[in-house]
Symmetry: C3
Subunit: 186 residues, 3 copies
């Protein structure tokens, strides 16, 4: 005997329910598995967030892309350890050992002191260094992409960057970002 109910197949309501179930599971929605992050700042403190977010995303199974542009190009230069400094100037939120008026923070020597202080704060808490984060990123297949336009503007060549760095423009970033839930401009 013919089972009309079964023959009729799925209804439109069934299909809508299934779509919602699929979308609710980030592991099934491909956009939930991709992160596209812009790293635009070139100081020691702002080098941390894009690398920590990208390596954490990659470690949890996501495909991560970091696009380094403007001052952020510093982070993936071969000489990044010399380039990345931190400035207390204009950032009254930076915790300082003693309160200092802004003019004092502008004195020569305060920049290096702030850089040393931040490095030792991170080291004392066993937070990875920028070198360790870059190595983790490469082990986890995070895509590190240098922005070609700002390379041209600043006069940088491909040889100025770490091995394994890729090169691309804003369109390359957007082609990933338009398929990703996690899109951040740091």
């Amino acid at each position: 005997m013919l089972d009309e109910e079964k023959l009729a197949g799925l209804t439109e309501d069934d299909v809508r329910r299934i779509v919602r179930e699929e979308l609710a599971d980030p592991k099934r929605d491909p956009a939930g598995k991709k992160a596209a992050i812009i790293a635009s700042k070139g100081t020691l403190d702002w080098a941390y967030p894009p690398l920590i977010l990208a390596t954490t995303a990659a470690a949890s199974g996501m495909e991560a892309h970091v696009f380094f542009t403007f001052y952020g190009l510093n982070i993936i230069r071969r000489d990044f350890e010399r380039k990345l400094k931190v400035s207390p100037i204009g950032n009254p939120a930076m915790p300082m050992p003693v309160p200092m008026p802004n003019l004092v923070t502008a004195l020569p020597g305060m920049g290096p002191m702030a850089t040393r202080m931040m490095k030792s704060m991170f080291a004392g808490k066993h937070v990875a260094t920028i070198r360790e984060l870059l190595e983790s990123a490469q082990e986890l297949d995070v895509h590190l992409i240098a922005c070609q336009m700002t390379m041209d503007v600043f006069g940088y060549g491909e040889d100025d960057f770490l091995d394994g760095v890729e090169f691309g423009g804003a369109a390359a970033f957007l082609s990933q970002a338009r398929r990703a839930h996690v899109t951040l401009f740091v």
Copy 2:
């Protein structure tokens, strides 16, 4: 009589049409109902955007998460009203009552003046204070999450933060962000 057309159920084209309809409606796509925002700056001016965006999102029915990291931890400290200052230094875009060369903005006293000026500009226009925005956020069930890694680095304890604040790491942020359309790094 058997209606073959009806029995055959939905076609693949029907299903594709339904999927597109579902995706076009942000109220049906779960990612359209979630916002995940990082607050990384610790000055008075940059405390506004994450709180305004999160409370506006929550007020329109979205689930909002704000992850406070680096200098942004200042915003949810018990003593935030004393911590949040604004600096005119290095920000030539900040509207000042009279144009000032940069050296003048570095003089002791200019930081407090800029902070007072910004507070009175916002108050004069009946914009909510940071305290009011934090209270609204909690009434609207916005999740306020302090970054554990930077708490450790800066030596902050859980007791330093407002009641109701949650604690988590980058992985906690990403587990929400990967399911959200609105993901912003402020």
Copy 3:
């Protein structure tokens, strides 16, 4: 003879496969065709990223919205060419012709010099000027939206802005962003 297989229509597994195919194609997922960008900084250097990203997105067929708020309102004011300056202060990552201690960058005259230097670096590399990027944005139907709340706070009127600029609040931004994969806070 009745083809039971065909009559039974699509199975739940068929539907899940189709949903995943649809989601994998950013041109089919409406969120993959929309970008919502906040421009909050008002200096010459930070005027570039939101305009480059929005025009690149629009040129590749996406619908792009840029929401100008806080200091970012400067970018779309009629007098933007006079307003947009760049400050080397507090940004040790900014490439300078010769290394300078921070106190020197605070001297009167260094701001204008940095602004001139950046303009000529961009011009020398045939990068579009801010004027050209704004014109491209309007030709490509990028939505340029001024934040009404910060207009009120800073005392700006609608006439202070370029022709074609739209006006809205955080809710207007979020109503687009919640339907977009690309959401960035610059």
